[in-house]
């Protein structure tokens, strides 16, 4: 495997940090938004420029500082990392456009602060994607926690305060209380924290300690919202919708599951996990989260809360895929990072558009909204299909590979979980769509003329919905990257 030493990973992280002073000093809102787009486009361009080499099997490395012997601050861009970075940086561009429509549509306060912390959060997300070792990953994980706090608590009222406390409690509490000691135990055992394809701990850890560390890591990354440490995510829905969309459907939560996948493959390694039969524990927690999350989503009336619980369930699909310890399962799990991102962000965009156009937040109030906002609700329908896992949307591909992976690993209970959860997903999404479109015109509280949300809101959600469809038929580069990643991790 070729290793290219290049500053590009570091630049990809830095570009949005560098944008912050510029944003702060912008004279007008349009210039400020313009710079956000410039930063987002630059970030995406740098990440995309590394794509061809990574597809050929190369890796980019760059060391910033040798802070601790055996654990430098450094970057390594491999297939899985660049997949996540591509998804995040592309969706940042789209979300920035959506933010313009949303924040201006509601005349929100402190918009400069919002865009600045958004930039910092994306830096941290890309930093996690490209982290070469556990220390760097931890650094950017913490940076993400603190950079997203002002975004979650943007409205600065009492509700935001209590949600902010929950956010900190779950996310910082676990990262300091569980993740940090687990990381240090690994360092004590091996003297280094580099992710290795065979797994850092291979041969150096006993079964009990491996099990304990597994649990510490699984729950230490509370951003992955594995139950029972999931409650911060519904609470975080108090944030403005673009924050919920990008961060809590894509960046923050995906950082959580991405980190878990990294830990399983780079710190534990597939061999260690299978020889100690730790996959079963992972599958247990993931399946429980999937089923419980979907059940709770059924009972929600608030649209964003429903989407939050749906996210909690969907995230564990990724963990499920890796926990199967099979190649196809890994492919399914990793590619679900991309498929779910596009689907979920569309759904959140729709929720926000509905709020701007009609002020409605609860599903019970959304009967007949399809006639007023057909474009939005069609996009919602398409995205819902993707999340459920039905063709013609991308989510079908990831579910298909998860099923294949479960068969490959001879885990039939997982097949049942996958099937049942898809049914549950349909059960909570389809009624929303049905009632939005099929209600009697006379009883429609919205009237029958079409009045969509502002253009800046509608165009992004259409784009992401269309991409969700395209991804089934042309899943590149994500599919190739996921296959590469699975091949590297399982050593085949």
């Amino acid at each position: 495997m070729e290793t290219i030493v290049s500053i590009k990973p570091f630049l990809a992280v830095l570009v949005s940090i560098a944008a912050v002073p510029v944003l702060l000093s912008s004279r007008s809102a349009n210039i400020r938004e313009g710079w956000t787009f410039v930063a987002a486009a630059a970030k995406f361009a740098i990440v995309a420029s590394m794509l061809p080499s990574v597809l050929d099997g190369a890796e980019f490395v760059y060391t910033v500082a040798e802070v601790i012997p055996g654990a430098a601050l450094g970057f390594r861009v491999d297939a899985m990392g660049i997949l996540f970075a591509l998804v995040s940086s592309f969706l940042w561009i789209v979300t920035s456009a959506y933010s313009i429509g949303y924040m201006r549509g509601l005349n929100e306060h402190s918009q400069t602060r919002y865009y600045c912390y958004f930039a910092l959060s994306l830096s941290a997300a890309v930093g996690v994607a490209f982290a070469a070792n556990l220390l760097t990953l931890y650094l950017f994980y913490e940076m993400l926690s603190f950079a997203t706090y002002p975004l979650v608590t943007h409205h600065q009222d009492r509700e935001a305060q209590s949600s902010g406390r929950k956010y900190l409690l779950y996310i910082v509490g676990t990262s300091i209380g569980l993740l940090l000691p687990a990381m240090l135990i690994c360092y004590d055992l091996t003297g280094t924290l580099e992710f290795s394809n065979r797994g850092l701990l291979a041969g150096k850890v006993s079964k009990e300690l491996a099990g304990l560390l597994l649990l510490m890591f699984l729950f230490g990354f509370a951003k992955a919202a594995v139950m029972p440490l999931h409650a911060w995510l519904p609470a975080a829905m108090v944030a403005p919708t673009p924050v919920s969309a990008l961060l809590h459907a894509v960046a923050v939560v995906k950082v959580g599951v991405f980190s878990i996948v990294r830990i399983f493959t780079g710190i534990f390694g597939m061999e260690t996990l299978s020889s100690f039969d730790l996959g079963s524990y992972v599958l247990f927690f993931a399946s429980a989260t999937i089923l419980l999350g979907s059940f709770i989503a059924l009972s929600q009336d608030g649209l964003k809360r429903l989407l939050a619980f749906s996210t909690i369930a969907q995230l564990s699909y990724v963990i499920l895929g890796v926990g199967l310890l099979s190649t196809k399962g890994m492919i399914g799990g990793v590619i679900h990072i991309a498929m779910h991102a596009f689907g979920k962000i569309t759904l959140f965009f729709c929720a926000g558009a509905i709020f701007i156009a009609t002020g409605k937040k609860n599903i019970s109030e959304m009967a007949g909204i399809g006639r007023r906002m057909p474009i939005t609700m069609t996009a919602f329908f398409i995205a819902a299909l993707s999340i459920i896992g039905m063709p013609p949307c991308g989510g079908f591909l990831s579910k298909w590979y998860l099923v294949l992976g479960a068969v490959e690993a001879h885990r039939s209970p997982v097949l049942l979980v996958l099937l049942f959860s898809s049914l549950l997903n349909a059960a909570y999404f389809m009624p929303i769509v049905y009632r939005a479109f099929f209600c009697r015109p006379e009883a429609n509280p919205f009237g029958n003329e079409i009045r969509e949300a502002p253009v800046f809101c509608v165009v992004p959600l259409v784009i992401t919905a269309i991409i969700s469809v395209i991804l089934l038929f042309y899943p590149q580069p994500f599919f190739r990257l996921a296959s590469l990643a699975a091949a590297q991790m399982t050593g085949m």
Binding site: A72, N107, E108, H109, H155, V172, G173, P181, L184
Partner: protein, 496 residues
């Protein structure tokens, strides 16, 4: 010239003291520039000394040209070379920042204050650079007395707090002196290296053990190790920010340095860790200090007092880390001396800036500060993240080594205490941030709030704070250099 650096580092602020006191009578506007000049020379000397130490592995200076053990020897090695720079940097940054505080709190005693400041720093330098046990006491008293006076100079209850501080501090220093006296009795020498040569023959004797315990007891009192800490929150609450900015970061850290020096150089690790098995008890004491300090800080409603209890916890980190007795623990303790001094400086600078503008440091006065004082709060946030232990600030890396040392020594209670106090610190600082950030009366979707006007602290307070905050990150990123090129050699080679 480089041969004279050990003396220069003391002489500059000492002569500065005299010049400032004279200038105080003539025209008080000259006091601060003289102080800054003197501290600048000391900073230059300290950097030069560390560079020299890295090159030559040690610098020796005979005061007056007399040989030890009759003459006083100044000896700079990796450990005190590092601490010297820390003292110089902290003293200089605070000197720049404290002018307005001094003018506000004691406008008629500017000269005396800066005289005491300069004398205090002289004393600290002397404590760190000397290799003579009694000379250390002399300079300890110089520093302490100046400190007491600086604290006691304030208004309100400050003289009482200063008096209490004086009583407790003098007891502590006297204990140290008593210990040195015992050592002199049995070894006939006051030079540290000399004592270390003679002492091994009498390690088993009662005198040696008594001397050690009494020295340590005195030092524990001076460094405010729980439960001998009670003088500190009181003194720090009533002292002025000008004084606190230099006393809070440095006093206790220099005492920890003295503890390390006495343990490693005078009594040597073979006595302290192998023969005289007190290390585990002290680690437990440190664990209690960490937990108690963090929890007591939770119950405070004034910033200064809360920070004082945070310092009590941080002292526990360093004492516990050292007495773990392994390489990572001692590395963590020494690294934390550097990092904690910088963090405490930043935190007190921020608190001082806030108190200056808001006319008080109660938590209620901090509403809406993120809007009215964005730069100060930014510096405060960085300092808080360092105290909590978030990378890439320096506080994370010293915590890393401390926890690493705890795991390596199997001392999981210490690890647990460190993690618990980190979590408590999150609560402590985010409580303040919540007050400064949230506006409970705001409705949803404010639709453009009336933006409050920015009412920042004066520039000469904000800029040192931001410089300090930047240094926290720079220190963090350069941990590798610090540990690998400096601290590694300060830890005794025979430790695993």
């Amino acid at each position: 010239m480089t041969r004279q650096l050990p003396a220069l580092i003391i002489i500059a602020p000492l002569i500065g003291t005299f010049c400032i006191s004279i200038a105080g009578w003539i025209n008080k506007r000259y006091c601060l520039p003289i102080l800054i000049a003197a501290l600048g020379i000391s900073l230059y000397a300290s950097i030069g000394l560390l560079g020299l130490v890295i090159q030559e592995h040690g610098v020796v200076y005979r005061l007056g040209g007399w040989d030890p053990p009759w003459g006083i020897l100044y000896q700079v090695d990796y450990l005190n070379g590092l601490v010297l720079i820390v003292i110089a940097v902290v003293a200089l940054i605070n000197a720049v920042a404290c002018r307005k505080h001094v003018l506000e709190e004691y406008p008629d005693r500017v000269g005396p204050f800066f005289t005491l400041y300069s004398l205090f720093v002289t004393g600290l330098f002397g404590i760190v650079v000397t290799a003579d046990a009694f000379n250390l006491y002399v300079l300890l008293e110089i520093a302490s007395l100046s400190g007491y006076a600086m604290i006691g100079m304030g208004n309100g209850r400050a003289p009482l707090a200063g008096l209490n501080y004086l009583f407790m501090g003098t007891i502590g220093a006297s204990f140290y002196l008593l210990g040195v006296g015992y050592l002199y009795l049995v070894t006939g020498s006051l030079n540290m290296a000399d004592i270390a040569l003679i002492l091994p023959d009498i390690y088993e004797s009662r005198v040696a053990m008594t001397a050690f315990v009494i020295c340590m007891a005195g030092l524990f009192l001076k460094m405010a190790l729980f439960p001998l800490h009670s003088w500190m929150p009181n003194a720090y609450t009533h002292g002025s920010f000008a004084a606190l900015g230099v006393i809070a970061p440095l006093t206790t850290k220099v005492m920890i340095y003295v503890m390390i020096r006495i343990s490693l150089t005078v009594f040597t690790p073979s006595f302290v860790f192998d023969r005289f098995r007190i290390d585990e008890a002290i680690v437990w004491l440190a664990i209690i200090a960490i937990v108690a300090g963090s929890l007591l800080a939770l119950s405070q409603s004034r910033l200064k007092k809360m920070l004082a209890y945070v310092i009590v916890a941080e002292i526990g980190y360093m004492v516990g880390g050292f007495w773990l007795g392994n390489r990572q623990g001692i590395t963590g303790a020494v690294l934390h001396i550097v990092n904690d001094a910088m963090m405490t400086l930043c935190v007190f600078l921020a608190a001082g800036a806030i108190a200056y503008r808001q006319k008080g440091d109660d938590f209620e006065k901090m509403e809406g500060l993120f809007i009215t004082m964005p730069f100060t709060m930014s510096g405060f946030v960085v300092a808080a993240l360092s105290v909590i232990g978030v990378p890439p600030t320096c506080g994370f890396f010293s915590k890393w080594y401390l926890i690493s040392g705890g795991i390596a020594a199997g001392q999981y209670a210490f690890v647990g205490a460190l993690l618990l106090s980190s979590l408590v610190h999150v609560v402590l600082f985010f409580r303040i941030f919540e007050i400064a950030y949230y506006r409970p009366e705001a409705g949803h979707h404010g639709g453009g709030h009336s933006s409050s006007v920015i009412n920042e602290a004066p520039l000469d307070m904000v800029i040192p704070l931001l410089v300090g905050a930047g240094l926290l990150v720079v220190l963090g990123l350069n941990t590798g250099f610090l540990v690998d090129r400096v601290i590694r050699f300060a830890v005794p080679a025979q430790l695993i």
